[in-house]
Amino acid sequence: MILGPATVGGSISAHGLGGAKDLPIPSELAIAGAVAALVVSFTVLAVAWREPRYDAATSGRPAPAWLDRLVSSRALAVSARVLGMVFFLYVAAAAVFGEDTLINPFLGTVYVLLWVGLVPASLLLGPVFRAISPARTISMLFARISGVPEGQGLYTYPARLGYWPAAIGLFAFVWLELVYPSSTDVGPVRLWFAAYLGIMLIGSAMWGTTFLARADPFEVYSSLVAKLSVWGRRDGALVLRSPLANLDTVVPRPGLVAVVGVLFGSTAFDSFRESTPWLKLVQSMSTSRVWPDTLALIAFSAGVALVLAVATMATGVASDTPRRELPNQFAHSVVPIIVGYIVAHYLTYFVEYGQQTVIQLSDPFSRGDDFLGTADLQVNYWLSTHPTFLAVSKVAAVTLGHVVGVVAAHDRAVKLLPRRHQLTGQLPLLVAMVGFTVGGLYLLFAA
């Protein structure tokens, strides 16, 4: 009958961060969400506009002049960089000098504040990560010291690489988080970030800051989600746009489909790996679960990208649009579906483990310090104790994401496809999107 709160000190857990997980959503809710997604999709197809509505060159209302001045000011840019650097050094100190325990705030900062927190931060404030990114700050400092003109490297970044390096970086991160058995040991995570930082610094020296905008997984992710915020720029001026108009300004580049595939596929895999059938299967194998999990993670990520590619290419095209470019041209419309699903998947984790991390941050070396004055705060578990509210919020987020995605895809279709293929050409993509959403809901219900 020995059953007390764990002395988390020495226990090394093969389990991810965080304790209890969300209950599966009720079947009625999952079905309601799926039906809503289906109905909305075909309604959009039937009644929505027939002329493209969003155009990056004209959309958006200019922000008030004082706001533009503030946001574009050097003072704000410098303070954001300083803040980002101070926080980075603080957490790096915990990572290097802190103890290898689950209460080391480095882990919570990486998996919760950075990886999940990046989404709400970018939704609210726009591309925040690039404003605070330590990799960008350090490479800018290097460039200044060595007298290189700001943002330039030795070579021009090859355009055909596009977002592929970011897709690989994102995959490396989700593999660390979801597959690697020692994902909650400080050592390997620290090593991962050391490698990340090293690659970013070398890359930016070679190809300038363009490299960071294309290859830094966190910057690419944040900037992509920021396209669902109301903040945009047109000819350098700050404008306010509807999230739909803003989403339309995503620049299609090679590898965008892969980025989208990893982001959505990995989140779906995170639900899947907890499901009873998969758990029983991998645990009954004689080998460690690393291999089957790795294969499943690849299958989920590649599967999403493949479905998207096939669905977007299965249409008639005009002679001036190469068919192979269609997947990247439509990939932006999966971003809202991803964000909706991320909200559903990570809401409790972010709110509750996020609070936990803020508390732990006050004691970076696990010595009982209280540097930030947050050590004595208590985590509020309101969300966990209201499972029905939680389930409704999750389904609402998934459905809303789906609606935004379908509208974005529709507008792109009427812009790109020849008139006689505009409706039929959308159908395969619509089916794929309904598939993503229903699949996501099914995983929330079944896992």
Binding site: M1, I2, L3, G4, P5, A6, V8, S11, I12, S13, A14, H15, G18, G19, A20, K21, D22, L23, P24, P26, E28, L29, A32, G33, V35, A36, V39, V40, T43, A46, V47, L102, P181, E274, T276, L279, K280, Q283, S284, E352, V379, Y381, S384, T385, H386, P387, T388, F389, A391, V392, V395, A396, T399
Partner: protein, 149 residues
């Protein structure tokens, strides 16, 4: 044109509204029931046959869920079994082991159950809804997923 759009959008609005109100209703019901009778009984039991049963023994039995875990030569049963459990309901874990070890209960906060070789009985009570994994370390196996609601 806009009239047509509106009429065609009607079903969407209806579905969304219906699903949301339905869920909203659920939520209220759930919340009131949990707040009113926090004590112990699971809703399904009480609605069916509260008054007739003899209160002492049978309700005691219904108040706990019993699961047996065996460890034999480094392998465990069950293997990732889902177990339904009520909030504040006791799970009685009977551990039959040929070797001493430790189980981790991944509730928030995490707890540990140390067991000896032989048969031992342990009691777990979870006070918040969620899915809680009961895991052995070294070898790493998830034995149970407790669906606490």
């Amino acid at each position: 044109m806009s009239g047509r759009v509106l009429t065609r959008l009607a079903p969407v609005v209806l579905v969304l509204a219906a699903s949301l109100t339905a869920c909203g209703g659920d939520g209220d019901a759930d919340q009131t029931s949990t707040s009113s009778d926090t004590a112990s009984d699971t809703p399904s039991d009480t609605s069916a046959d509260t008054p007739s049963d003899t209160p002492t023994e049978s309700s005691d039995a219904a108040d706990t869920v019993a699961v047996t875990v065996t460890r034999e030569g480094g392998s465990f049963t069950p293997n990732g079994e889902r177990v339904e459990l009520g909030v504040d309901q006791a799970l009685v874990l009977t551990i039959e082991a040929d070797e001493a070890g430790e189980l981790h209960v991944h509730s928030t906060p995490e707890r540990e159950i140390a067991y000896e070789a032989g048969t031992s009985e342990h009691k777990i009570v979870i006070d918040r809804p969620g899915v809680v994994e009961v895991e052995s370390h070294d070898p790493d196996v998830i034995l149970l997923q407790l669906e606490v609601r």
